[in-house]
């Protein structure tokens, strides 16, 4: 049985939680004060994910770069791999909010979408 100390990031409360993990399965969470905390602890101990936001280069836009985000949180261990891909992409203006920049980033099945116009 493995025991992990975690700080919840689900809301600004920042509850200190303890999760017990048995064979890769979270068997108990304590210290959380709401169900979101339990869910965060379970995800964090099995397959941690993070929202990814960055910029990609734009040709012919008002600015040299346009901001983008992952449509869903990406696996934490793939963040730098995703950054590598996004740093080597150039898109052409015009760009609208919600335009799909990458359809499936690094085999995660997650889209990268534009979050501003350019």
């Amino acid at each position: 049985m493995e025991v992990r100390e975690l700080t919840c990031v689900a809301c600004p409360m920042g509850c200190q939680m303890t999760a017990s993990i048995d064979n890769g399965v979270v068997v108990s969470v304590t210290g959380n004060t709401c169900p979101r905390g339990k869910k965060y602890a379970e995800t964090e101990c099995t397959h941690p994910v993070r929202p990814l936001t960055t910029t990609v280069k734009v040709n012919g836009g008002k600015h040299p770069v346009v901001p983008v985000k992952s449509a869903a949180p990406v696996p934490k261990e793939k963040m730098f791999e995703c950054m590598d891909v996004l740093n080597n992409i150039t898109v052409d203006a015009p760009i609208k909010i919600g335009d799909v920049i990458v359809d499936d980033i690094c085999g995660t099945g997650i889209q990268i979408v534009a979050t501003n116009i350019d």
């Binding site: 700080t7 990031v9 920042g14 004060t33 990814l52 985000k69 740093n87 909010i97 979050t115």
Partner: protein, 419 residues
């Protein structure tokens, strides 16, 4: 001379929400003056997510949050002048503004909403000794370089101050390949949200050095390194604890100050603690017909609350313009005591309004399992238990209209923390 019913100074989230609300309340001629090239304000460079959870019930990036308001403005007949700087406000609410196309403009207006936002404290405000090389900048400047202009500010970074912008930039710079060596925080606790410490520092093994500050900047043309020192309980550097840290960039995230040069020049009274105007519950300042909202009034943690507050100001301005003057000169004061650092609004007009009054406040230290109390003439009119109160998180309480009766002019409503 241009003539408007309402001029809004600043086209960020505060200015846009105030203008839209005033329009909704029936104000006809509205102008927004924005000094940047687009509407949106600082949200345009805040490309991370976490905006809109309260107001829209979803997690948006800064530009997405701004876009929702920009699109609404485009659907109205609200006039917008970008690249336009407001230079002055006269005693009868004329606005003096300037831009390249129109030159110097004198704009007559019935009411004005001040929504200029805030500014980061720069190096000069904290007097770090040393040389003056390139590579010393605020976290927000580095954020603008990275997210709008496409430049990485440096490769080896030390961040002074653990405010949220500094933490967000620690992650941003790391993702872009820079080495963020450490975040130094003068206080024994961080000024940023816990979730940002976890997601922006711990995720990338960036050390957070509490009770540490930068005591020397080294380098001639470009920053070559900084000296950091531990500080004692009086926040004074402890001799002998100096450590040299090589770096090419020093990023500052050491607080925000409401940008009130304009307010000051027209004689608006400012609150010593918030740095913003002293206002009543409609966000009207002591200058009749001039309202203030958003970060120019007091620095908010969440843009959602800026939007809500600015709608109050927009409605207040609309009522003023339409002559529905619910306002009276009969006012009471609010005051934070025993752990409460400030309260906004600082005044409450006692009028025939049947609306509750929402008071926003901040505590000066961390409290756990404490009670927030509101008293008048020694009687408790409100008490609520709070699991946690922290300086980094703005709180609010709602005062019912019946609790505002039977006050005498100049009376005080005290807000305090017990426990």
């Amino acid at each position: 001379m241009l003539k408007y019913d309402l001029v809004v100074v600043g086209g960020g989230p505060a200015g846009m929400a105030a203008a839209l609300k005033a329009k909704e309340c029936g104000v006809e001629k509205i102008l927004i003056c924005e000094r940047d090239e687009t509407l949106g304000g600082i949200l345009e460079q805040c490309i991370h997510t976490g905006f809109g959870l309260h107001y829209f019930g979803e997690e948006l990036s800064g530009p997405e949050y701004a876009a929702r308001f920009i699109e609404q403005i485009e659907q109205t007949d609200i006039d917008v002048k970008v690249n336009t700087m407001v230079l002055d406000i006269t005693t009868n609410n004329d606005v003096i503004a300037i831009n390249k196309d129109d030159g110097l403009m004198e704009i007559s207006s019935t009411a004005i909403v001040l929504a200029m936002g805030c500014r980061e404290r720069p190096r000069g405000a904290i007097s770090i000794p040393g040389t003056r090389p390139a590579g010393v900048m605020t976290a927000g400047t580095a954020q603008r370089y990275a997210n709008i202009q496409g430049y990485l500010a440096g490769k080896e970074v030390v961040i002074l101050g653990s405010g949220d912008i500094g933490l967000i930039m620690a992650r941003r710079m790391t993702l872009e390949g820079a080495k963020v060596k450490m975040v130094c925080e003068l206080m024994p606790y961080s000024g940023g949200l816990t979730r940002n410490i976890v997601q922006c520092l711990e995720d990338f093994d960036i050390p957070l050095k509490l009770s540490h500050t930068v005591t020397q900047i080294h380098g001639d043309d470009r920053v070559e390194g900084v000296t950091i020192s531990k500080v004692d309980s009086n926040l004074k550097p402890i001799p002998g604890t100096e450590e040299y840290v090589p770096c090419d960039t020093l990023m500052l995230s050491v607080g925000l100050l409401p940008e009130n040069e304009l307010s000051r020049s027209v004689g608006i009274y400012l609150d010593r603690i918030t740095g913003g105007a002293i206002v009543d519950q409609y966000r009207e300042t002591n200058h009749e017909g001039v309202f203030a909202c958003g970060n120019v009034l007091h620095v908010h943690d969440l843009v959602d609350f800026v939007t809500q507050e600015s709608q109050i100001a927009g409605e207040g301005a609309a009522n003023y313009i339409k002559g529905k003057k619910a306002f009276s000169d009969y006012r009471i004061h609010t005051k934070g005591v025993n752990g409460v650092r400030y309260v906004v609004p600082q005044r409450i007009c006692i009028d025939d309004s049947d609306q509750p009054v929402k008071l926003y406040f901040r505590v000066g230290q961390v409290f756990t399992n404490a009670t927030v109390k509101v008293t008048r003439n020694g009687n408790v009119i409100y008490a609520k238990k709070k699991r946690k109160l922290a300086p980094g998180e703005m709180e609010n309480i709602i005062i019912k209209p019946e609790d505002l009766q039977e006050f005498s002019e100049g009376d005080y409503l005290y807000i305090e923390v017990e426990g």
